[in-house]
């Protein structure tokens, strides 16, 4: 599946590109970071960047993918935790923090989750499955309404992350999550 092993310079350049992109994404956000800047920072020509990653989303997926996989793994860990903890809420918080970490990524997520294809698509589906699993667990403990689906949960989490990206204060997200979980009506 992975085909022939790549040439040594190709491997080296790929590593440099990922390193440069990670740094730039952290500094200025995914949507602001220009592909040419990433290439220059990696000490590599633009053409090289585009050969390694066919479009910007592919590069983004490479950078962000690992921590996305981490979210699916976190769900499995949490399912083994003691009963008392509200693991659904904890996991959604982690998801939102993850999206916020890379500014400008919420849009890519939403699109990838919807279509399910592209380099991000598969990972987003895995995250959605994790959500469904956590939801089943939470429902059994009366911590979530029974008609709520995994994709709805993801959609709301993504939406909260997006609006938090837009509005300056970064602690808004937790408050909004509280509102979404408990509802806008009085209890």
């Amino acid at each position: 599946m992975t085909g022939h092993p790549r040439r040594s310079d190709a491997r080296r350049n790929r590593a440099r590109l990922i390193e440069a992109a990670t740094a730039l994404f952290d500094e200025v956000g995914v949507d602001t970071a220009a592909m040419n800047d990433i290439a220059r920072r990696a000490g590599v020509g633009p053409g090289t960047l585009w050969r390694h990653f066919p479009d910007k989303e592919a590069l983004t997926a490479e950078i962000v993918g690992q921590s996305l996989d981490g979210l699916a793994a976190l769900a499995i860990e949490l399912l083994d935790e003691p009963e008392s903890r509200d693991i659904l809420r904890e996991w959604v918080s982690a998801l939102v923090r993850h999206i916020i970490r890379y500014r400008g990524i919420a849009t890519s997520y939403a699109r990838a989750t919807r279509t399910g294809d592209g380099p991000l698509g598969a990972r987003c589906l895995a995250v959605e499955q994790a959500a469904t699993e956590l939801l089943r667990h939470a429902r059994a403990r009366s911590q979530a309404r029974t008609d709520l689906t995994g994709s709805e949960l993801i959609e709301l989490a993504t939406a909260v992350a997006w609006v938090n990206e837009m509005t300056a204060p970064p602690d808004t997200a937790e408050r909004l999550l509280d509102l979404v979980f408990e509802g806008l009506r009085p209890r």
Copy 2:
């Protein structure tokens, strides 16, 4: 404040530009519509478009502003309705539908609401005030939790509208609004 009356050709071109932009925004969405295309459709040079509207957001504000004002007005109307109706929920639905109507507008809204300046800013502040007023009304009738603020309500509505823009089915919004209003927990 409005200065000298404009020349006749200037007034005519401005009207044509607004007409063309409205049509194109409706057809392809605000973010996809290119300024040059709007100018060509209006039968006007690009320079003319840019003199009338200093940037794309100014044009957007002009097109979208009227229905935004309509939302503030709608709030006042609703406050006179009979007690039985859930006017907060109705108004938020209208807000979300309004944002969805022009694809790609949620981002501009979120930014304008946050900063409060720019041509959209003032109108967004008015909408936020309307939300605060409706919230006061709803709180008195136990239809909203007491610690919910107008800006939080707007943020959540904008977030739902945005995620609905991203995910294809346009009827998602009402379902997500239901979830947000009632909460993800069992009642």
